[in-house]
C-alpha cells in the first residue's frame, strides 16, 4: 500500500515548498547563527521530502538513496558549522552574524 494514495503528491509538494520558504525567510530575517543553521536544515529537509515523495511517486528507489546522501552530508556540515560557531563564540562572545563583518578581506 502506498501512502501517496491517501495524501496525494500535490500536498507533499506544497508542504515542501512551504518548508523551503520558511527556511529561506528564516535565513534572511534572523541574525542568530544557530537559528540560521536551523533554517538551512529546514531547507535541506524540504528538499529531502520532495525527493522522497517523487521517489515514491515514480516507484524509483534512487531518490531515496539521494536522501541518505544528503543527510550524511548535512550531518557532516552541521558538525563543521557548529565547531566554527563555537570558535566564533569563544572569540567574540556572541554569535550574531552582523558581528562577523570583520572577516571581510
Amino acid at each position: 500500500m502506498n501512502i501517496l494514495e491517501h495524501v496525494g503528491i500535490e500536498n507533499y509538494l506544497t508542504l515542501s515548498a512551504l518548508l523551503f520558504c520558511i527556511g529561506a525567510f528564516g535565513l534572511l530575517y534572523r541574525r542568530n547563527a544557530i537559528i540560521m543553521f536551523m533554517s538551512i536544515e529546514i531547507m535541506l529537509n524540504a528538499v529531502n521530502l520532495l525527493l522522497v515523495a517523487f521517489s515514491s511517486y515514480h516507484e524509483d528507489p534512487s531518490g531515496q538513496v539521494f536522501v541518505f546522501f544528503t543527510m550524511a552530508v548535512a550531518a557532516a556540515e552541521v558538525a563543521v558549522g557548529l565547531a566554527i560557531l563555537v570558535s566564533v563564540f569563544r572569540n567574540i562572545g556572541n554569535i550574531d552574524i552582523d558581528n562577523l563583518k570583520n572577516l571581510k578581506g
Binding site: L27, L28, D98, L100
Partner: protein
C-alpha cells in the same frame, strides 16, 4: 656536382659574413680581396656547371633542406640548375667578380670599404638565390634580398640625406611591384598547390585555373617585374638610384638586379605564352618605356643619369622582346647589355674618380688624351650600345627590332626611334666627356690622370666582351638559341633573307643618323648644354622627366599625406579618447560597485536568494511562456 653547387651558393655568403664581422680588423685591401675572391669562386663553380650543362648533362635540381608545408603545398630550399639559370649565373658572377675587382681600387678612399664589400657579397648571394631558386618563393627571397642590398648600397653614403631619400624611393617603388609579384605567387600557389617551376609548367595544361585568373596572375607577375626592372609607371626610382657608388650602379642598377624582372618572365615563359593579352601589355609597356626613357636621356647632363635612362630604355627594349614571345632574344640583349652597360658605368666611374666626384658633363671635356684606356673602352661600349656593326649591341638590338618588325610595325617604329635616340645621347656623352677642351677648374685639370690597373683591367675585359659578345647569337647560326631551345616553345627562326639585311641596314643608318646629329652639335659646333635654369619648351619637359615625379607627388604622395594628416588630427584623437573614456567609465563603475561587497552576510544571502528566485522565475515562468 653537389659540392660545386654548395660552394657556388655559399661562397658569397661566407664572404659577406667575414667582411661584415672582421672587415674592420682585416683592413681595406684584405676585405676587398676576400669579397672579390668569394664571387670569383662562385664564378668558377658556375663555369664548371656551365661546361657540364653545355655538354648535354641533365638538369640538376638541388634540394638543400625542407622549409615548410601548408596543406598539400610543400616548399623546399631547392635550386634548379638548368640552361637558363646557369647562363644567367655565369654573367652575374662573372661581371660581379670584375666589378668587385674594380671596387677594390675605386672605394679605397672610403672608410667603410669593408661594409661596401660585405653588402656587395650579400647582393651576389641573393642574386644567386633569385636566379637559381627552383620555386617562386626562393626566387622571392632572392628578389627581396637584392632589393634590400640595393637599398643599402644606394644609401651607402648615408650622411647625405638626398641619397637616403633615393634609397627609400627605390625600396618603396620596388615594394609596390613586389606586392603584385606576391599576389601572383598566391594565385598560382592556391590553384596549382605547388610553386615549383617545373611542376607548374607540367600542370598548366590540366585546366586547374580559369584563363582569366591565369591572366591576372601573369599580370601580377609582370607588375613585380615592372618594379624591379624599372618599367613605366614604376621607372622613376632607377635614375635616382645613381646616388649609390658607381660600381653599385654598374653591378646592381645596370647589369644584374634590374634584369631580374626579365629573368622572372623568361623563367615563367610557359605561363606568359598562354596569356597573349598580357604579352601585348608587356610589349607595349616595354616600347613606351624604351622611348620615354630614351627621350629623357637626350637632355640629361649628369653622366650617370644619362646611363641610367639608357638602362631604363634598354630594359624597355628587352620587355618589348619578351612581350613578343622572343625570350631568347631578350636574354641575348640582357647579356650584351650587361657587358656594355657595366663597361660604360665603370668607365664613367673612372672619369668621376679622375675628376674627384664631378658628374656634370658640362664640366668635363677633353679627357681623351689623359685617359686613353677609359676612352677607348667606353668608345667600344658606346658603339655597341648604339648598334654599330659588328659590336655586340648591333646583333642583339637588331634581333629585337627584327622580331618587332615581323610582329607589329608600330612597335618596330618606336623601338627604332628609341635606338636612334640611344645612338645620339651616347655619342653626346662621349663628345661632351672626352672631346674638345677641358671645362673644369684648373685644380681638377692639374690632377687629371688615367685610373690605376685595378680599374682599367675590368674595363678592358668588359669592352672586349662588349665588342665580341654578339658572337653567341649570330643570325642564322645562333649558339644561344640552340642552347636555350629546351626551355621555350618552339617557334620559327627568322630567315636571313633580303628583308633581314634591309632591316639591319635601316638600323645601322638610324644609328649613324643619331651619331651624326650628335657629331654636328657637340663636336663641330662645340655646343655645351645650357644651365638648368635656362632650358625651355620641350627641352624643359624632357629635362624635368615629363614631370613624372611631380605627377606622382600630386596624385599619390600628396593625397596620402592628406589622409594621414586627417587621420592624425581627427581619427587618432577620437580613438584615443574612446579608449581612455572606456577605461575611465570602468574605473568609475568599479568605485561604486565595490560598495556592494561590504562584508554583511545578511546582504549577501539576500542577494543570493533573490538572485536565485529571479533566475528561476525567468527560466520557468517568463521563458516558458
Amino acid at each position: 656536382m653537389n659540392t660545386t653547387i654548395l660552394l657556388l651558393l655559399f661562397a658569397p655568403l661566407a664572404g659577406f659574413l667575414i667582411t661584415l664581422f672582421f672587415g674592420k680588423k682585416l683592413g681595406k685591401t684584405v676585405s676587398g680581396a676576400i669579397g672579390t675572391a668569394a664571387v670569383a669562386i662562385s664564378f668558377l663553380c658556375t663555369l664548371s656547371l656551365f661546361s657540364q650543362i653545355n655538354a648535354g648533362e641533365t638538369i640538376a635540381t638541388f634540394k638543400l633542406a625542407d622549409w615548410f608545408s601548408i596543406g598539400n603545398i610543400k616548399i623546399n630550399f631547392s635550386f634548379l640548375f638548368d640552361q637558363l639559370s646557369v647562363l644567367w649565373l655565369l654573367f652575374v658572377t662573372g661581371i660581379g667578380s670584375l666589378i668587385h675587382l674594380y671596387s677594390i681600387s675605386y672605394m679605397h678612399e672610403d672608410e667603410n670599404m669593408h661594409k661596401f664589400f660585405s653588402y656587395l657579397n650579400l647582393f651576389v648571394f641573393f642574386m644567386i638565390a633569385l636566379v637559381a631558386g627552383s620555386n617562386l618563393l626562393i626566387m622571392f627571397i632572392g628578389w627581396e634580398g637584392v632589393g634590400l642590398c640595393s637599398y643599402l648600397l644606394i644609401g651607402f653614403w648615408y650622411k647625405n640625406q638626398d641619397y637616403n631619400d633615393a634609397a627609400k624611393k627605390a625600396f618603396i617603388m620596388n615594394r609596390i611591384g613586389d606586392l603584385g609579384f606576391l599576389i601572383g605567387i598566391f594565385i598560382l600557389g592556391f590553384h596549382f598547390q605547388t610553386l615549383e617551376f617545373l611542376e607548374i609548367k607540367a600542370l598548366l595544361g590540366k585546366d586547374l585555373i580559369t584563363p582569366s585568373l591565369l591572366s591576372i596572375a601573369a599580370l601580377c607577375l609582370f607588375i613585380g617585374a615592372c618594379g624591379k626592372s624599372a618599367q613605366l609607371p614604376l621607372a622613376t626610382w632607377l635614375p635616382d638610384a645613381m646616388a649609390g657608388p658607381t660600381p653599385v650602379s654598374a653591378l646592381i642598377h645596370a647589369a644584374t638586379m634590374v634584369t631580374a624582372g626579365i629573368f622572372m618572365i623568361t623563367r615563367m615563359n610557359f605561363l606568359f605564352d598562354l596569356t597573349p593579352e598580357i604579352q601585348n601589355v608587356i610589349a607595349i609597356v616595354g616600347a613606351i618605356t624604351a622611348i620615354v626613357a630614351a627621350s629623357i636621356g637626350l637632355v640629361q647632363n649628369d653622366i650617370k643619369k644619362v646611363l641610367a635612362y639608357s638602362t631604363v630604355s634598354q630594359l624597355g627594349l628587352m620587355f618589348l622582346a619578351l612581350g613578343l614571345g622572343a625570350y631568347e632574344v631578350a636574354v641575348f640583349h640582357v647579356i650584351t647589355h650587361a657587358f656594355f652597360k657595366a663597361c660604360l658605368f665603370l668607365g664613367s666611374g673612372s672619369v668621376i674618380h679622375a675628376l674627384h666626384g664631378e658628374q656634370d658633363m658640362r664640366n668635363m671635356g677633353g679627357l681623351r688624351k689623359v685617359m686613353p684606356i677609359t676612352f677607348w673602352t667606353m668608345m667600344i661600349s658606346t658603339l655597341a650600345i648604339s648598334g654599330i656593326f659588328p659590336f655586340s649591341g648591333f646583333w642583339s638590338k637588331d634581333e629585337i627590332l627584327m622580331t618587332a618588325f615581323h610582329a607589329n610595325i608600330p612597335l618596330w617604329v618606336i623601338g627604332s626611334i628609341a635606338s636612334i635616340m640611344t645612338a645620339f645621347y651616347m655619342f653626346r656623352l662621349m663628345y661632351l666627356t672626352f672631346f674638345n677642351d677641358f671645362r673644369g677648374t684648373e685644380e681638377q685639370k692639374h690632377h687629371l690622370h688615367e685610373s690605376p690597373a685595378l680599374i682599367t683591367i675590368p674595363l678592358v675585359i668588359l669592352a672586349a666582351l662588349a665588342a665580341i659578345g654578339g658572337a653567341i647569337s649570330l643570325p642564322g647560326n645562333s649558339w644561344l638559341n640552340h642552347y636555350l631551345a629546351p626551355l621555350f616553345k618552339k617557334h620559327e627562326a627568322h630567315h636571313l633573307d633580303g628583308q633581314a639585311y634591309m632591316l639591319m641596314a635601316i638600323a645601322t643608318v638610324g644609328a649613324l643618323v643619331g651619331i651624326g646629329i650628335a657629331y654636328a652639335k657637340y663636336l663641330k659646333k662645340k655646343e655645351i648644354p645650357v644651365a638648368d635654369s635656362e632650358v625651355q619648351g620641350l627641352h624643359k619637359v624632357l629635362s624635368d622627366k615629363y614631370y613624372l615625379d611631380e605627377i606622382y607627388m600630386a596624385t599619390i604622395v600628396k593625397p596620402i599625406y592628406m589622409i594621414s594628416n586627417f587621420a592624425k588630427k581627427y581619427v587618432e584623437k577620437f580613438i584615443s579618447k574612446a579608449v581612455i573614456g572606456l577605461g575611465g567609465a570602468t574605473y568609475a563603475l568599479s568605485i561604486k560597485g565595490k560598495k556592494i561587497q561590504n562584508g554583511n552576510i545578511g546582504v549577501y544571502l539576500f542577494a543570493f536568494i533573490f538572485g536565485m528566485v529571479g533566475f528561476l522565475v525567468y527560466v520557468f515562468v517568463i521563458r516558458v511562456k
